[in-house]
Symmetry: C2
Subunit: 291 residues, 2 copies
């Protein structure tokens, strides 16, 4: 090992593993080291650049809290989060998309047809759909965890003026897999750019905007949990999402509905007199084990 050189250090690293180590851990760590070494060699990484990289990680560490995870954001803007999503999505199922850092662990229950916007003002949105399996069969009683920004562009955990449960809801679909709720249209917003990730975005000539979206986590026994988002097809940032989260099958038309047409059977029935928009978003879950 004292004859380690810049050309053999990856082999030296690999040879240093103990014999009874977990094969998968070994595979992942050796591949990680090899790609890090190859990166450093390819760009002839300088000491200053190496130090700057470490300082970025230290900075990310200092500002990371349960409410703001700069490491997840770094993974997001580098495209790694989306890549891992895409590698594990099932072509027959709805595409998955980034979880993001704003999910809360105890969302409040939301009844079918319930209202998630509470007292917030904005374009009323009626969201509904059915959760199905890959054969098209509805999945009864699927669980949908939904969250989004308030009209000010902030999630509850970012905004001291919002209750932590604001714009979060956990819904159990009916026996035919149907869900429905009302909300206000979420808005395009910027990811936090006052940390190291912001520096990277500026260095790359990129903006911190994400197109407007609703987040979903959909779960049902016997099916793979789906983490995804739905985007309106008229958002200006659809083709420049800074976290690479948009997929074609997640882009939906928010169809304008005339005033006076708000349907019966919702918590807001009788209260929405003006126009609103309606979005149908069906979700297809992959089986937990491939057939």
């Amino acid at each position: 090992m004292r004859n380690v050189t810049k050309d053999n250090i990856t082999e030296v690293f690999a040879a240093y593993f103990g014999e009874d180590t977990d094969p998968r851990t070994r595979q992942v760590l050796i591949a990680l080291a090899r790609h890090i070494h190859d990166f450093a060699r390819e760009v002839n990484l300088s000491h200053d650049e190496w130090r700057k990289g470490l300082e970025f990680l230290e900075w990310a560490g200092r500002i990371t809290t349960p409410e703001r995870n700069e490491f997840v954001l770094l993974s997001d803007v580098l495209g790694l989060s989306s890549l891992v999503d895409m590698m594990h999505s099932t072509p027959e199922a709805t595409s998955s998309s980034v979880l993001g850092p704003f999910h809360v662990s105890n969302p409040p229950a939301l009844e079918i047809g319930g209202d998630m916007k509470r007292d917030f003002e904005g374009e009323v949105l009626l969201v509904e759909g059915t959760v199905r399996d890959t054969s098209g069969k509805p999945i009864p009683r699927a669980m949908i965890d939904i969250w989004q920004t308030a009209p000010n562009g902030m999630y509850s955990s970012q905004d001291p003026d919002q209750d932590i449960h604001s714009f979060h809801g956990l819904m159990t679909c009916d026996w035919e897999g149907r869900y429905a709720f009302t909300t206000v249209r979420p808005v395009s917003y910027t990811v936090p750019d006052d940390g190291p990730v912001g520096e990277i975005l500026r260095a790359a000539g990129r903006h911190p905007w994400r197109p407007s979206h609703l987040h979903y986590i959909v779960s049902a026994p016997g099916h793979r949990q789906l983490v995804t988002e739905v985007f309106p097809d008229d958002d200006p940032y659809l083709d420049q999402d800074t976290v690479f989260g948009v997929r074609d099958d997640l882009v939906m038309t928010y169809v304008p509905q005339p005033a006076g047409s708000f349907p019966e059977g919702f918590a807001l029935s009788g209260k929405v007199e003006g126009s609103y928009s309606r979005v149908d978003f069906d979700l297809v879950l992959a089986p937990l084990h491939e057939a």
Copy 2:
């Protein structure tokens, strides 16, 4: 961008750069993203493994302080720090080696022939040598920053019982480039292994030991600063340094000297009556600009 796939995301990332971005930043960030993407694709990184990796970085962030930098340690045990050192060392100069996290920014002055061990007990070591340029000419008045562990295996910044300046010294060589000081023999020690780096070492079946060494930073106008270490040739961890810091030309014999032979001209002259060891370690600095 809404047609991003696991196969084209690296190209999408690269194409997203603004046109007036710094070419070097662009090169480094695109190469970094490509290697991260290739790593994830090659090992088919799972969501759980991705999350575990992020949790490791978060953990590193939580325990990193000015005195303990877990990110530097991570770079060290992955071999990245040594790789960057080796990529930028000059073959004609003394090999560089890892800086490590235990350097202090204001080392106390140490006269030529001075004693760095103060009141600590241990095997007395007389260290001397000459700083030269690559043509063999002594470099007058070179500056040497030296630090090491106490006999208990701890650096001053790790040990509440040591003064922060304990076993640190800054020496100006004489006009013939010579330096000399006394100390006690540094000991093999373990890098901190109670954090995420310790988990990685255990998963790899590796121990956290480093062979005993003295750290040097050598500076002189017109020459490249050299960060290096010197190791005794009888240390049991020479071929298993957990941070890959050993180089052949940094391994020296600590030559035992008989009792009563301690030379004149040192702060400890007349005080060392027993045996001691002597190590000659000459240092060769590369020119700041290649000829």
